[in-house]
């Protein structure tokens, strides 16, 4: 499922960029597409996927938006351990979670990230393999 979504997103990146776009611009688009597809496939059950989609869809420079009435725990958890703080920073949405919830979300995030990396590696390998045949 995530593979199909990502391939569709890749084709959109290609169509939107004419030849004049720099590779770094395209790479940023691909990277954003990769995270968006990963989060969309994980679904809304997971806090990290919701936080990741929020971050991607938030466009910079649009100014303040009216905050929606969402009951969400906003108080950041003060951590004493630098390792815990580092993990909270790495996992999307990890700043406001309970510790055990953070571990569960980190486990799911690692699983989906590894799958996304395997998928992209497969695509790159098959594309370079076809390139080398020609």
């Amino acid at each position: 499922m995530v593979a199909l979504r990502f391939l569709r997103a890749l084709s959109l990146v290609r169509c939107s960029g004419p030849g004049a776009r720099s590779p770094s611009y395209r790479a940023r688009g691909i990277r954003r597409a990769a995270y968006a597809c990963m989060a969309a496939s994980a679904g809304p059950r997971r806090a990290w996927s919701r936080a990741l989609l929020r971050k991607i869809r938030r466009r910079p420079g649009r100014g303040l938006r009216r905050p929606r009435a969402v009951i969400r725990r906003r108080r950041p958890v003060g951590g004493g351990d630098p390792l815990e703080v580092a993990l909270r920073r790495l996992v999307p949405g990890g700043g406001c979670m309970e510790y055990c919830r953070l571990l569960e979300e980190a486990a799911d995030y690692v699983k989906c990230l590894a799958m996304q990396v395997r998928l992209m590696q497969t695509i790159v390998d098959s594309a370079s393999h076809v390139n080398s045949i020609d």
């Binding site: 390792l83 690692v110 996304q116 992209m120």
Partner: protein
């Protein structure tokens, strides 16, 4: 019942629990101090630790045979997530480079179009 090696000290503002760093007890203490009321057992924490440890790559697991301490696990998880982020960035760069060399009539594009159609 196992006696956890906890020490309790009181201050005016908070009561603190301390435990030996790196133990499953430490995780339990953190959970209690996070203020949530849900009862969590030692087995659940051990399950979380082993679940996270199982997700780490094989070479990391081989280096740390058996049970890892909580702090080691956190460190390995953080470094693994960082390396996965770096791989995503690197693969995005490579894909972008490959896509610039691909034109719309090449066989790769045909493969991708075929996959998208199904």
């Amino acid at each position: 019942m196992e006696v956890f090696p906890l020490r309790r000290s009181h201050s005016f503002y908070s009561s603190t629990l301390t435990a030996e760093t790196g133990s499953a007890t430490e995780l339990l203490v953190r959970y209690i101090m996070s203020g949530r009321g849900r009862r969590i057992t030692d087995e659940e924490i051990n399950e979380l630790i082993s679940k996270l440890q199982a997700l780490l790559p094989a070479e990391s697991r081989r280096r740390n045979a058996g049970r890892m301490s909580a702090s080691k696990l956190l460190k390995e998880t953080c470094s693994y997530i960082k390396s996965l982020h770096r791989e995503v960035d690197d693969l995005s760069d490579r894909l972008a480079g490959l896509m610039t060399t691909m034109d719309s009539n090449s066989p790769q594009a045909e493969i991708i179009r075929g996959l998208l159609r199904s």
